[in-house]
Symmetry: C2
């Protein structure tokens, strides 16, 4: 492999001069610069990225802290981060923290050692000071970390409103909402969107708290169907929860969408694979990951940001778990 | 931050001596060593990993080349690689190659620059020489690269046999197999397992080639049901394909499992979320990722391997798309 010494020898200059050219720092005569650039080209010299890291204290690596890559929301997100990072010459270190404070601290320490250039946070077990101890730019993805950290989210409130309106417009008169855990901001926003529409339109409804997993959602829905057999539409706070509702409906002998309409939230690939395929509020997951990464790289490259809060639009995707006006 | 100079000053030795202690190379007097170790402890000095990379030409990073993290087979695999790597102090760089030769080459070049310590290959668009140009240990995961590269796979042949036997034992007499693309080794092995059982037992059957995606599988299954309405069991070469078969069955008015039994392959989370939940041959995806990572780290640390071919057992998981003898 060609080394910096080979380049210096070929260009008939000192190693220090080559280094000044590579790092664009310090005085180099025009002749020397031309000679060095020619040597680099002739010898096909690639400055070693590890050496550069040591000098610049950067690594062209960014960290992505997520709860768990095997949770179906995150693969598409990780893919987007990776794609955009690659375009700008960065690689991505994915850290699965399982929302465990100790694991998260362990990763933050490891990333510090590697001169990571920036960090995308989709989990927030530590304090803002812990993240800031890395002394690198941060972006919060779907989680709020601090007012000073740029955040990318979807408009959960409006997405939930649209779903609720659709269920009512297509003939349902007794709606249930399986909400996500109280205190989780995305779940709270979806709940508020649902609530505002049913109250404004004076529609009978019931709200129960569940968890973002299929088993809990199935159990919650079974209980709901038993207590209120006349429920004719459910808005679930996630697609995974909606898959649990479908199982409950089947077990209770209810047809989807004839007896009960159903809309989920997220737009993960699962929805399309279910039979009937799931109507859902699609979050632009890929775009959220891509925009977060661009925001991070802008900060790394010391470019100004236009705003600190990017809220992306959701899209109501009507598939087969809702009735369509045209068939009525 | 504490630097190596601070350590040298505190220990009253030269920087070169500290470096020799850190790198366990060259002669250092016992007194000097004790003084250095005490200084490291007292000052809480953490040798910088980038500097170590430059010296040792290692980075404590491993690469994972996969087609696409948003393909549902890979998140659990990536998770396992990440978990094991972390245990041994390594971080993982995930590379999505989309089975594109140019992208794969781009990644291999980037990894070279970063002194990656080893590479797990779950994609193989390049030649073995391209991968070997990295001069680091390799492990092949579910893809065969070369006889000299350790490989980890599941026993696809036996898994397929067990699925086929189960369908026959539970009363089906006309079986179809939706096989994956000819030439893909895992698909070929599953096909062979199916074929051996139906031929040995003299059971009527039909085999059609499809792709590992839901739309193609649905289309193929619709065509099959039209041509052979009396098919009463389908063994699909993947869970995603099986989800497509369920859509086709619904469209043709066939009940699963009453009219048609169905078994998939892989054991991805999707299977459990379908209604009815999917009977499938579970590959130990997490274990495959974990074992690959251990094999890679063993090689990096120059420990001997017991064998070059690790074939893990699959497990037939009977859920709701098959009839169970006890209910007959």
């Amino acid at each position: 492999m060609t080394t910096i010494k080979d380049v210096a020898k070929y260009a008939e200059v000192s190693v220090a001069t080559v280094s000044r050219v590579l790092n664009k720092k310090g005085y180099v005569s025009k002749d020397a610069e031309v000679a060095v650039l020619k040597a680099i080209k002739d010898l096909n010299y690639k400055p070693n990225s590890v050496a550069r890291s040591l000098y610049h204290k950067t690594s062209k690596m960014i960290g992505l802290l997520i709860p768990d890559i095997s949770n179906p929301f995150f693969p598409e997100l990780a893919r987007a981060v990776e794609d955009v990072a690659l375009t700008y010459g960065y690689t991505v270190v994915i850290c699965n923290t399982d929302e465990d404070k100790r694991k998260e601290q362990q990763y933050v320490d490891a990333l510090k050692q590697k001169y990571i250039d920036g960090l995308i946070l989709s989990t927030n077990q530590l304090s803002i000071d812990d993240y800031k101890s890395l002394h690198v730019p941060l972006v919060a993805l779907d989680r709020s970390i601090s007012d000073s950290v740029p955040i990318v989210t979807a408009n959960n409130f409006i997405g939930a409103q649209q779903a609720t309106e659709y269920l009512i417009d297509n003939g349902s008169t007794f709606l249930a909402h399986l909400r996500g855990p109280v205190g989780v901001k995305t779940a709270d926003q979806r709940y508020k969107g649902f609530k505002e529409v049913v109250e404004k339109k004076g529609i009978a409804h019931v709200v129960v708290e569940s968890e973002f997993n299929i088993h809990h959602a199935k159990k919650t829905a079974l209980d709901l169907f038993e207590r209120y057999p006349s429920i004719d539409a459910i808005f679930a706070s996630s697609d995974i929860m909606a898959a649990g509702v479908m199982k409950a409906a089947k077990q209770m002998g209810k047809e989807v969408p004839t007896d009960v309409q159903l809309i989920g939230f997220d737009g993960i690939p699962l929805g399309e694979m279910l039979t009937p395929s799931l109507s859902t509020v699609i979050q632009p997951i890929y775009d959220m990951g891509a925009i977060s990464t661009r925001l991070l790289i802008k900060q790394i490259e010391k470019q100004p940001l236009e705003t600190l809060h990017y809220e992306l639009e959701t899209e109501l995707n009507i598939r087969e778990t809702t009735r369509s006006e045209q068939y009525e």
